[in-house]
Amino acid sequence: MLYALQAPFRLIFEWFERLFDKPFGPPWNPLRQLGTLAFFFFWVAAVTGIYVFIFFDTSLSGAYESVEHMTHEQWYYSGVMRSLHRYSSDAMVVTMMLHLVREFSRDRYRGVRWFSWFTGVPLIWLLMVSGISGYWLVWDQLAQYVAVGSMEWLDWLTIFGEPVANNFLTRGSLDDRFFSLLVFIHIFGPLFLLFGMWIHILRVNRAITNPPKALALGSMVVLVVLSFLMPAVSNPKADLAIAPSTLNFDWFYLFMYPVFDEWGGGAMWAVSVGLSLFVCVMPWLPRLKEVSAPEVMLDKCNGCTRCAEDCPYGAISMVPRTDGRPFEQQAIVDHDICTRCGICVGACPMSTPFRHEGKVKTGIDLPQMPLDNVLEKANAVMLKAKAESTAEQPSILLIGCDHGGEIAQAETSGTKSFSLPCIGMLPPSFVDYALSRDGVDGVMLTGCGDCDCYHRIGIRWTSDRMAGLRDPYLRKRVPRDRLHSFWGGGGELDVLETEIDHFRERLSTLNSDVEGHEGEPS
């Protein structure tokens, strides 16, 4: 059932990503930066919250007036800070929830990724507690409604000796001490949230928590403009003898309260806890059928550390040598955090199709797709491509990844494809091999979308390796004009086909040039 849900969400996201790619470009596309944006909005809310807290009167009698003073007397500064505090918190809810759905749609929540998914669920609760407790502090009618509703919700559990809602029963029921407790909840909620966010990314190597500067700046500017144009204002002051009537409502945080009014505490606890538990166990519904983790071949590993440096999850570490060979270190793989992407195979300098006797052997290899099989596959595909190629249809080896689009659909006469678990698994020497004497006319690399690699940095490492920026490099002798790449993911298969057409034309011209030169008298 979850699979059936993934596909439509994925299509929707791909459509919007493409729409946003046009004005922003992939690196600045906010849909590709949802996690970092959530972090950014957290920091904006934290800084503005600290500022607002300085001028906030934490007493029951003074809270509302102090907020009103900030909003109306100092509207140009404290008022803007209050609005920024509210809007950044709201924006955090939006980006966090979109981030959750997007990761689900991309199937990036199962297998060893369960940890980030699982630890993300309490973050939703902590964010809600942080935001809702903030609404209490204004002590307007909305605060009264939310505070009473929250306490009644808690009281349904009957874990307290006396109903907590009795603290809000009549005028005089609520004292400064209890109000201070609410203030503390609003301070400690975000602190725990930050701690949870740190745990959330603990297993991610090179975790990026800041959006690109331009995106951060744009988001900040738009929030400031919004704060000036639509400043956050309070509802009338709370009065425990008067029931709140019509309220200006923050639906990002408070959407559950009208449902609570309708359904009551039991149903709401069942829905919220049940849904959270369901989301928690989603990585095992069903469990990702994980293949074996990469194996280190000590007879080929010289402890060069490249695989450890390139691993997106820090699953490879270097330890002292155990086999007595004259090298300091050897690589070991932590199976619990390895995603089986094969980027380490692409990073290993021993992963070359050129120097091998019999089978291709490398320092680290994927048991389910050994490099030798990759070579066999590449040879078979190249043979097919060459057999169908003509002067107008030069032979192209199209190499993609299992998480991009269905690249087989882009195959034409002379253009044949195969895919790898991640494009980062491709050693640059394989491109060299494919374009060497008996190889194809061109090699085209593709995979996930720009800035959206399923294995996080497979595209980045591949691009850098091919450009000669990252070890292992593509050798200088490889004709760069016979190598092309396009990172469009599943949503841009049509653009991929266009790119292949352009590449084919380029190769035809190159081939005719070569034939022309060969025909000239020496």
């Binding site: 470009g25 924006a91 000796g161 006396e162 144009l229 409502f249």
Partner: protein, 239 residues
């Protein structure tokens, strides 16, 4: 009489359960948690070294051409203009739903009656004076002159509004020994205006109510009216 401090009462559970508790905590995170700062320091150093090495390489090979289609950020004037439109759409969405549409909790022509009572029922057993012989059999910390049962009666409350019974519930005493108060909390939304309200309480078993109060009240729109119980004055209160 000064009671003796029985050290075993505290030491035995601590010795038995303490290590088990610590063992569980140790295996459920503390062991990993205390490693984190050290690991982070090492990781940071390694990352910095790698980044430095990579940047050196990048600088050394400046001018190297990227392969294939590279789609960078759109920093053209038209791009910025379109971005502004999309930012504005996002801001409008956030700004609107941060305060709209408004929600009506209780219509202005309605009032709210809250029945909130926390009242301990009477004790099921009367206290009995203990003889010297009975006291001698007890451990020192248990020797009290009166032996009192802890269990209380459940409390039954019903409320009538304009002659119609709108609430009737028996609530068990809280606490493991059923010795705490019985709790009632219920809200009613009623039209503003005149109402007849009656609250009856039974806290000692049987069929008779031992507390009752009826009153004619006039509620204004949005008013909150609270029916409660004064445990010191032993009476139903209306506020």
């Amino acid at each position: 009489m000064k009671e003796e401090f029985n050290v075993y009462l505290y030491a035995v559970p601590l010795v038995v359960f303490g290590p088990i508790f610590l063992y569980i905590l140790w295996n459920f995170g503390i062991r990993e948690l205390i490693k984190i700062p050290g690991e982070m320091r090492v990781q940071k150093k390694v990352d910095e070294e790698r980044a430095e090495k990579f940047e050196k390489e990048r600088k050394r090979k400046r001018g190297v051409k990227a392969i294939g289609v590279v789609r960078g950020p759109n920093d053209s004037p038209l791009g910025y203009a379109m971005q502004a439109v999309m930012y504005a759409a996002f801001a409008l969405g956030v700004g609107y739903f941060a305060a709209n549409p408004s929600y009506t909790f209780i219509p202005p022509d309605q009032a709210q009656i809250k029945l909130s009572i926390s009242h301990p029922g009477q004790k099921k057993e009367a206290c009995v004076k203990q003889s010297r012989a009975e006291l001698a059999k007890l451990s020192p910390n248990m020797r009290t002159a009166m032996k009192c049962g802890r269990e209380r009666w459940p409390v039954y409350i019903e409320m009538e509004l304009d002659g119609k019974r709108v609430f009737a519930k028996t609530s068990q005493p809280k606490g493991l020994s059923n010795d705490g108060p019985s709790i009632f909390y219920q809200k009613f939304t009623v039209p503003a205006g005149k109402h007849e309200i009656t609250v009856r309480i039974r806290d000692r078993g049987g069929n008779d109510f031992n507390f009752q109060r009826s009153e004619s009240i006039t509620l204004t729109g949005s008013q909150i009216f609270v029916a409660s119980f004064d445990n010191l004055g032993h009476k139903v209160t209306f506020r």
